[in-house]
Symmetry: C2
Subunit: 463 residues, 2 copies
């Protein structure tokens, strides 16, 4: 189908920046095929106290299946940059490396590797773009969504949060992966039916203003919709919210014991005031079980404000601001070479540096609360605490730790790990105090040695 | 392939909010199949003086091919909300309506329909989510990219702009469609190879820091890369920018007449100062043809500042900020019912209102400059000026005006239409003065009549 042209598995190997392919050919031509270590990490946080790692499953699927189809090779051939020998070599290209990663749903902090790829340099290099694209996006959405969920559950009440964002998310893939990431972060359901089908997510929805407007009267529309969907949620603000609520009450009288409408949705106006007034009217009519859902430009701050004003709200439909992570629509993610052929490597330029060599991250606890992370070298056994990075792929094949898991497992993992964080990190405004992330002594030593060695080499070269 | 699970043509009909499907069943059950008019428009602008309409091609492809596969029907059946009769009816579902739209690359303003769908109400309703998703995103990116292009070409110099954003765009589809939208807006090339293949776009790229770091020395890396790609662009800031430039000069001496390196790239530090110093060194060495490209957190404002500081830059690699439209990562787009069964419809709630009935937008000119748009009723013949909306689909089939066109045609259209805009709209800060968009007398009358009729109906109902 033509509108499938956005991203097709047939040409998935082309889903990369051109320079990855030109560098791949250069490495191939120079016979550079030693093992490289690349870290995927985020350099700094803005408006977030922590990130929730997400998107690993898609990264592993990509690495497992990465290969060049005839169609892809034909396209590359036409670019006049790639030799026939190299294109022939690409025919058998596959990813043969190891991958270490923190499980999806794990809170992480700046400079900590979310993923570490250890593979022949060309393979690891080629994967950069897809891995960054998927993991940056899903981590960004999960990190935003967990804030929304925490705000909605303030006071310990289990209010529902639904992802309503697909219409203004950035394309189809965004809305699929955002539904997935938001669910892992604790969002309860999505309006995205395709995501429901692909990821076995709960799907949900109410009704649109257009449905009401197409009927001769709001009452007719309510009556018809509730007849077909007895437990529906009726949208009451098309013309005037309070008279909309009154019609729901009229419908309840009309239907008597058959009335099973689950709730109403408010989508405009002063949501706190309207929720209070609606609750009063519904309760007065004996409809104490009818829930109040709200939507319209919501994010974690607006939800907190509504609940601070004691709005009697049972659930939130959260759209664009969560689905685009509107206050921070990208993470400052990077995928950097940390080692090649057994030697640690790094970039010296000050604002874009990285930690050399392979790593482990150790989370240390006091009384069940996470208090400190140590970024250690891979021989991390002398540190007490929980290591975060697991080997999820070995020689191009998934390990047990890397096997696909049900989203509910990721979701439970996320809830448990977030619950261990200090309260100040879980509060809404970003905390100045932050969280302590330190380098182990061995990592400090390696950093010094690598920097010194690089400067010495440069001095030699400059002579 | 498993990582194709994000959005598949087999389940494209499920790519919608659940409520579209529940409403579709309700319309079907109630026998409501009269023609509806839905407008896709943007309610207001922020940090933009105009929008560049984009994404229509994908919308039309979707409408042409919309149908329910067995896989989609099986999933819906399992939801326990849809009757067997309805699911059987869905087997033959197709889009049979008319579509009116402004051509891709046309500047548009708030309240002006980018797309008008005129179809049996269930069909038009179902299409809402996909149409909003694709057209909102591509229009947002084109509208951002045209600002970047205009900034880069200040002083009338034709500096190159390349899209380098795929790694931090929101998923795969975003990076494909953004490359497309940016090209229509005037961006010259993309680093996204898959987008190059899918849309026949120029692809471009340089080299990464990792390539330099993996070599024993920067000089070795430059030498090897230039050997394989004589006309390449060398990245000079891995260790120290100025000594990187010096090595390019050394390489030129080494290679003599064989030196064909096209340019250098600066990716960190004070880009304006470094560009000036690099230019001075290159020129001194007789390398006046070696161009200077820059990247690193660029957007239209940073580009303007660099050029205001007279930085001798020949091209820009623009990434995350353009590819996520970072200052405005969503448009306030809407898809609203404007008519049903021959009667204009609208929503009364103040902040989310819409204009009733079918429309035409007339752009009026003075001395070749666009000075005013008139949002008119569809019988717009009494207004002088150029009508913007064309019929692109009739009874579910594309018209001539809706036939697929080469991206270059859209790009040329965009350049020509943007050139007609008043200078103040093309300048960078958003102008308070804006652009005059008025309602025609007939549209004003219809708006009044529809509002009055709705209020009368509500009064009757409230009695």
């Amino acid at each position: 189908m033509a509108f499938d042209d956005h991203f097709r598995s047939e040409t998935a190997a082309l889903y990369t920046d051109l320079y990855q392919l030109t560098m791949l050919q250069a490495y191939w031509r120079e016979g550079m095929d030693e093992t490289a270590v690349f870290d995927l990490f985020v350099r700094r946080l803005k408006d977030r106290n922590y990130l929730l790692a997400c998107g690993l499953e898609q990264a592993l699927e990509y690495l497992e299946e990465l290969s060049f189809s005839e169609e892809a090779l034909t396209y590359l051939e036409a670019q006049d940059q790639f030799s026939d020998d190299f294109l022939a070599w690409l025919e058998d290209f596959e990813f043969t490396g190891d991958v270490y990663a923190v499980p999806e749903g794990t809170p992480v902090f700046p400079d900590e590797p979310l993923v570490e790829v250890v593979a022949p340099i060309g393979e690891a290099q080629l994967a950069e773009t897809f891995l960054l694209n998927q993991i940056t996006f899903q981590t960004m959405i999960a990190s935003k969504a967990v804030r929304v969920v925490e705000a909605a559950r303030s006071g310990g009440r289990d209010r529902l949060v639904a992802d309503f964002g697909m219409r203004r998310m950035h394309g189809t893939d965004a809305s699929m992966k955002a539904a997935r990431a938001a669910y892992i972060a604790g969002v309860d359901a999505t309006s995205n039916v395709a995501a429901g089908q692909a990821y076995d997510l709960p799907i949900t929805g109410t009704m649109a203003h257009s449905y009401i407007e197409a009927h001769d009267s709001e009452m007719d529309a309510f009556r018809e919709f509730a007849e077909l969907y007895p437990e529906t949620i009726l949208l009451v603000d098309t013309y005037d919210t309070i008279s909309g609520v009154q019609k729901v009450i009229d419908l309840a009288e009309e239907k008597g014991d058959d009335f099973q409408v689950r709730g109403i949705r408010l989508d405009s106006g002063d949501l706190a005031e309207l929720a209070k007034e609606s609750r009063r009217l519904l309760d007065q009519a004996g409809l104490t079980d009818v829930m109040i859902f709200v939507s319209s430009g919501l994010d974690e701050y607006k939800i907190r404000d509504l609940l601070d004003r004691e709005a009697p709200i049972d659930g939130f439909g959260v759209g664009t601001k969560m689905g685009t992570s509107a206050d921070q629509p990208a993470l400052d993610s990077a995928y950097k070479l940390c080692g090649y052929a057994g030697t640690p490597r790094m970039k010296l330029s000050s604002e874009k540096s990285n930690l050399p060599g392979r790593k482990q991250v150790i989370r240390q606890y006091e009384n069940g609360t996470a208090v400190r992370d140590v970024i250690a070298t891979e021989e991390a056994d002398r540190h007490t605490g929980a290591p975060l990075l697991e080997r999820v792929m070995a020689e191009g094949e998934r390990t047990d730790a890397g096997s696909p898991r049900a989203l509910d497992a990721h979701r439970e993992h996320a809830a448990a790990r977030v619950a261990e964080l200090p309260d100040r990190l879980r509060a809404l405004p970003s905390t100045a105090e932050g969280y302590e992330v330190v380098l182990s002594d061995a990592m400090e030593r390696r950093l010094d040695e690598t920097r010194t060695a690089l400067r010495d080499e440069m001095a030699v070269e400059a002579r």
